[in-house]
């Protein structure tokens, strides 16, 4: 398993505490981290960068997680970018997508992200 050094993770999360903690955790692990607090910010960000992995919450303000995921899967530039869904409601997660249920076990989340990125 390759190390995360220099790999870019985008964390899309509206809960400030979670988003900022995850940013710290991923940075501690050696990832470069970009964050978005809602779906709109996420799309703006992803228009500019192509991350190695996206950690995506489903319940988001402005533009919902489903729509963000749909855009990622239809944009040819981003279609290969892995997505890990982190949500309180697993039934809303798209089929076949790696899922980490909230409240997340941090170790489990890091394992899943490492495998994907």
């Amino acid at each position: 398993m390759s190390g995360p050094a220099g790999k870019l993770v985008v964390v899309v999360e509206d809960e400030d505490e979670i988003r900022e903690t995850l940013k710290d955790v991923f940075e501690d692990e050696g990832y470069a981290v970009a964050v978005a607090r809602d779906g709109g910010e996420a799309l703006t960000l992803l228009a500019q960068i192509r991350p190695h992995v996206v950690v995506l919450d489903m319940n988001l303000p402005v533009i919902n997680g489903d729509a963000v995921y749909a855009m990622l899967r239809t944009d040819p530039r981003l279609v290969g970018v892995p997505v890990v869904v982190s949500t309180t409601d697993p039934s809303r997660a798209p089929a076949g997508v790696p899922l980490v249920r909230k409240p997340a076990n941090l170790k489990h989340l890091l394992d899943v992200v490492r495998r994907c990125s």
Binding site: E15, E17, I18, L22, D24, N59, P90, K102, P103, L106
Partner: protein, 623 residues
């Protein structure tokens, strides 16, 4: 002398009748019909006077006053009546007294008659020659008294006695006796009993034969006209009788129509008194006639103001149509009726009302029942609407509650959990690690409870458990459960056996939840030194059966309520959770179209049998 008498005497010599009366032969039995008393007296005086002049014996049987009249007439003619009586030539007898001598039970008796009259004739002839001349009006008296049979019988007796004693007899009948059509036969009989018949003065007084023939012609014409008139009258009478009968039948039909009509009918006079009522009216109210007719109509109305208004309107010559009123029956019950009425007026005078009464009590009851039922229905609709609105409010509240549980509560929990994990990874010392571990443990428990409450709420709202089906190997899943449990409880053993390929389209997270719950229960409530066994039978093509077994025993009173929600809340011991675990486990399996059953005995321990269809079949609805 009267005019009739003058006329009679003036043509006496030329008149057959006058001649006959002056000189009747033996056994002549003459009848003289007459119209006026004066004519009779003159005729009899002529008859007797001729007898006196011929020195014949005379017998007069007449009413006493008549006898006197005859005597006066004879005196006027110059006869010595007193002398004739004194010498026995003239015998005057009272007719009624003479009748009394021979009448028996209203009929003349021959023997008595023969004795009485024969005696008088014999006595009259004593010492005299010549025939006896007699005048009698007993038959006239009998006739006038309405006993024509006796009169005719008496005439016969006169004829019979004429065979014994020689005499000539003059009878007189007033013509008025024979004016009725039915008298015709008797008149003939009277004529038959006499040898000579002399008509009344209206014919007898006609002097010339030519005039008499003319009179006969007129009389014949009158007789025919009268017969024709009688026949015509009979026809008329018959027609009248038929018309009357028809009228009677029509009256009876009309009477039957009103009397037996289906509607009640009655008449009320201007004074408010019931004058007449038909059978239907009586039957409607239950009275007999005298209890109703003759009483004031207001006695039978339950509402005084209603009958007052009705009478006032009728008096103003208004017609009432379907006027609703309540009538009091004999048994005290009330009938609701519709009354139609107007008044029969004659020359501006109120004669009586014509009231038609129609019973609508049953119809009113039905309407009232329907109204009540409608009102109840409306009330129940309102209640139902309120209940639905309340249910909708509850659903909205539950959805909101579920939203809070699902997202808003779990996000801060997630933040706490993530923070605790982060602390653990910092290697910040034993105390920090211990504290972070406790925070994580509590967060996990709270997360489970929130998850369970969320599931429970969704099940209750009716949404059920949403599944995220994917290809799952139940053997692997159960092994993972066993590993996690053994990791948490190193002293315990959880064994997994599988026969066949336990692959199906299931929700892996939810089945993990199911088997963690079942194996966890077996671990916590089972016997400590015995293993927990998970045996999977995947040999069937369409379903997989898994048995979770341990040696522990579920109390028998717990078995029936094992899958009830919040069961733990009623347990004596301190609960580790909300008591929703088995309830949600059952609901997850039902959502998969599967089942769960528990058996527990002292000898065999406790076995939970789970059956899972391999693919999505219509799930059984669960709650």
């Amino acid at each position: 002398m009267t005019q009739d008498a003058k006329a009679l005497s003036s043509r006496a010599s030329s008149s057959v009748a006058t001649e006959l009366l002056a000189r009747p032969a033996d056994e002549n039995h003459i009848v003289q019909f007459y119209e006026s008393e004066d004519f009779l007296c003159e005729t009899v005086a002529h008859f007797l006077g001729a007898g006196l002049a011929a020195d014949e014996p005379l017998i007069v049987i007449a009413a006493t006053d008549r006898c006197e009249k005859f005597a006066r007439r004879l005196q006027l003619r110059g006869f010595d009546v007193a002398g004739a009586r004194a010498s026995g030539q003239l015998t005057l007898l009272d007719a009624r007294a003479t009748l009394a001598k021979f009448m028996v039970d209203g009929m003349p008796d021959w023997q008595r008659f023969k004795a009485a009259i024969g005696g008088v004739i014999a006595k009259s002839r004593e010492g005299r020659d010549g025939r006896v001349r007699a005048y009698g009006e007993m038959v006239d008296i009998l006739w006038r008294e309405g006993n024509p049979q006796a009169a005719i019988a008496l005439e016969e007796l006169w004829n019979d006695i004429a065979k014994i004693h020689s005499f000539s007899l003059l009878c007189a009948y007033v013509m008025g006796n024979f004016y009725k059509e039915a008298d015709g036969e008797h008149f003939h009989e009277v004529c038959r009993q006499h040898t000579h018949v002399i008509p009344t003065e209206s014919f007898s007084n006609i002097e010339t034969p030519d005039d008499r023939l003319r009179e006969i012609g007129l009389l014949q014409q009158r007789a025919r006209a009268l017969e024709s008139e009688v026949a015509h009258r009979k026809e008329l009478e018959k027609s009248l009788r038929e018309a009357l009968a028809a009228r009677r039948r029509s009256d009876e039909t009309l009477r039957d129509f009103v009397e037996n009509a289906v509607y009640g009918l009655h008449w009320v006079g201007a004074d408010g008194i019931i004058e007449w009522a038909n059978k239907a009216e009586m039957e409607l109210l239950g009275y007999v006639r005298h209890e109703y007719i003759g009483h004031h109509i207001s006695e039978f109305h339950a509402d005084p103001e209603v009958i007052e208004d009705m009478l006032a309107r009728l008096t103003r010559n208004e017609t009432l149509h379907d006027y609703e009123a309540r009538l009091r029956c004999k048994d005290g019950s009330i009938k609701v009726v519709l009354i139609g009425s107007n008044v029969l007026w004659e020359d501006g005078k109120f004669i009586h009302t014509r009231c038609f009464t129609r019973d609508i009590t049953e119809k009113k009851k039905a309407e009232e029942a329907k109204r009540q039922s409608d009102s109840q229905l409306e009330a129940s609709l309102v209640r139902e609407k309120e209940a639905r609105q309340e249910a909708e409010r509850t659903v909205r509240f539950n959805e909101m509650f579920a939203g809070i549980l699902g997202h808003d509560l779990r996000n801060p929990l997630s933040a706490i959990s993530t923070g605790a994990h982060y602390l653990l990874r910092m290697n910040a010392g034993e105390k920090v690690a211990r504290t972070a571990t406790r925070i994580l443990s509590s967060t996990d428990r709270m997360t489970r409870m929130v998850d369970q409450l969320l599931d429970f709420t969704r099940i209750r709202v009716g949404d059920g458990i949403a599944l995220r089906r994917e290809r799952v190997d139940l053997r692997d899943l159960c092994r993972r459960v066993a590993e996690e449990l053994e990791a948490g409880h190193p002293e315990r053993v959880v064994r997994v056996e599988c026969e066949g390929e336990a692959i199906g389209e299931w929700d892996a997270d939810r089945l993990l939840q199911v088997f963690s719950n079942l194996a966890g229960n077996a671990l916590h409530h089972g016997v400590i030194d015995t293993p927990v066994d998970i045996r999977i039978d995947a040999t069937g093509p369409s379903e997989v059966v898994a048995l979770v077994h341990n040696a522990g025993v579920v109390p028998s009173d717990m078995l029936p309520v094992l899958f009830e929600p919040f069961r733990g809340a009623y347990r004596q011991q301190k609960p580790k959770g909300l008591g929703l675990g088995l309830f949600i486990t059952q609901q997850i399996l039902l959502s998969h179209g599967g089942t769960i059953e528990v058996t527990s005995t002292e000898s065999d321990g406790t076995t939970v049998r789970v059956r899972l269809p391999r693919t999505d079949v219509a799930p059984r609805s669960g709650r």
